[in-house]
Symmetry: C2
Subunit: 360 residues, 2 copies
């Protein structure tokens, strides 16, 4: 097992290990004063993981109740938060109780937000069950829900008391979910840590076979890198934007496809575009795109725009991003593998050129 | 004008003055970097105050837009927050904008909550327009909305950047609203500050005639007292419960009457009951009830249970309060005027006895 301490205003620890779920009951009292737990999950994870975890906790003397909602981004709204809250009030959860978030990114965002506003805030603990949530949502304290007008428009910054990452649960999910998370790991390597990038190159097949040692290593390194970035920029003023490597175009692609694409797949294509743009604009001081594409292909991730997506259609979705979040468009490009640069308002023609290159 | 500095984790200042509204445009840049303001209000205050303030701000070069909702506690829910948020997104309010809450307690709670979760938090400024909101909501950072299961069950702790208290606007409201706020001022005096209590005794008629000097004084003293309590107990661990003087029974009375009673009237009766209980239990070291009742009567506030409320019906509503907020019932009683004591689980018989005394 590995332990990562995250140095936010209220520090907490991420525990990473295979079979860690069974150790949660004996560890929880170190971070929670209560034994009254609301276990928030979705209906899929409920069957795969949450029921088991609830049983383990109950046997250890915790008073545990499961509250679940339909899986998927469509549930990530205020109505779900209100329904969960009402169920918790009726079940007698008071200020001296706590929330356990058990699931992927949507569950983490919804449950974290709920915990941050329930009776003006109760403690919460995360048990992310997808690789994407393990390497992405465990650090940063972002919670939130969508509005019809856009994603994550309502939310809070709220840190968990503890994060338990059990990579043993990853085998309960289809391989596409593992790939989805690996795209984010590639992001950390390509933008921030050449060593991690080369580790992925060396261990690609072992990772796809769920070997525990490399899984533990990439989860630890990804969380460590994100924690370093976030601890220097807790409120998203600047540096944190490095985490958007591959996401600017990735988000545009998701929006263009009305989210009928896995996040990791959109990010993979977005990273390829950003790498090629880095070369086209003369920012890259070594070839970066080819090696990145080769790794993504070995991991079973896409490196070309999906069929039916016209390159010309994407820039429109970029400006939506731009409007809500910043006055201008800051893209994350690569100087070399493992080293990012910020680039303000890249020329539209260069962007379009690159998108055309990677359209099928 | 008087200035009160509130020493919370992120300190802010309360400015108190007659005609202060017109000075907001020149002061705002000291606390906000933006000139893009969402002015949140209800439909009543919109006509009385908010339209004027928006005009003043627009003339001074601020980009201001008003968002309003129907007045009253019935609007204090998540649906209102979602609707306001959606309107703000569509109107282009981004992270670099700010919220101005203009209105009474409901507007302050809703707008503060909205500001705390909109794009994970934008700055906000309060312009309370009722005496109750001026002496009660300006300090403490509590925001929130109701659920069908109970009041204030979802919310945050979120401090404003500035509070502007213009007691000049109080004349736009019926006298009953002034009385409603004066009940809270009596609370601060009776529980915490004998000098304030005696000032109220000396100035009761002047206050009811809206004389500016005594109004400024009682608003300043009330905010100062609340700020002292809150700064020592920002997360409501203990001391802050002193602010519940008169509110334990007041809340029960409101619930029994399905909130068809002004908050201040319920608190007035609750304070009388608490004062009489202090004497009955031998906690009071001087007579407290008679002088308290005399002051409340002069201020036009009730000192007896409303017709139709049976004393026997109230304890049931107390236990609801008890269940959600604490394991046990802590009441605030008086040792003398200006000096409170906490009292745990007063005997039900004594409570009932006192309630019978003050039933008509």
């Amino acid at each position: 097992m590995r332990v990562l301490r995250v140095e936010t205003a209220e520090p907490y620890e991420i525990l990473i290990g295979g079979g860690l779920l069974t150790e949660i009951p004996q560890d929880l009292p170190q971070v929670l004063e209560t034994r009254h737990l609301a276990l928030i999950t979705d209906e899929t994870v409920r069957d795969l993981v949450a029921e088991d975890l609830a049983r383990i906790l109950t046997e250890a003397g915790f008073r545990t109740e499961i509250f679940s909602f339909p899986p998927g981004e469509a549930s990530k709204n205020m109505e779900t938060v209100v329904q969960l809250s009402r169920s918790m009030v009726r079940a007698g959860f008071d200020r001296r109780s706590a929330v356990l978030a058990v699931g992927g990114g949507v569950v983490g965002d919804v449950a974290g937000f709920l915990a941050s506003i329930y009776l003006r805030g109760v403690p919460y603990v995360q048990v992310p069950t997808t690789l994407l949530a393990q390497v992405d949502s465990s650090v940063g304290g972002k919670t939130g829900v969508d509005l019809p007008e856009g994603k994550n428009l309502l939310g809070t910054f709220y840190q968990p008391r503890r994060v338990y990452i059990d990579y043993g649960v990853l085998t309960t999910l289809p391989l596409s979910h593992l790939r989805n998370g690996l795209a984010e790991v590639v992001k950390y390597g390509a933008a921030l840590d050449r060593g991690l990038f080369e580790f992925l190159e060396a261990q690609a097949e072992a990772l796809l076979a769920y070997h525990p040692e490399p899984l533990e290593e990439i989860i630890y390194q990804s969380c460590r890198l994100k924690a370093e970035v976030v601890s220097r920029d807790e409120r998203e003023a600047g540096l944190r934007r490095v985490l958007n490597f591959g996401h600017t175009l990735g988000h545009a692609l998701e929006a263009a496809l009305n989210y009928q694409i896995l996040h990791g797949e959109a990010v993979a294509v977005g990273m390829v575009a950003a790498a090629r743009l880095s070369e086209a604009l003369g920012v890259a001081e070594e070839p970066v795109a080819e090696r990145l594409e080769a790794l993504l292909l070995r991991l079973g991730l896409p490196v070309r725009l999906p069929e039916g997506v016209a390159p010309e259609a994407l820039p429109a979705f970029l400006s939506a991003d731009k409007k809500v979040w910043h006055g201008r468009l800051t893209m994350v490009l690569l100087r070399r593998l493992g080293e990012f640069v910020f680039y303000e308002d890249p020329p539209r023609e260069s962007l379009l050129e690159v998108l055309k290159e990677i359209s099928i």
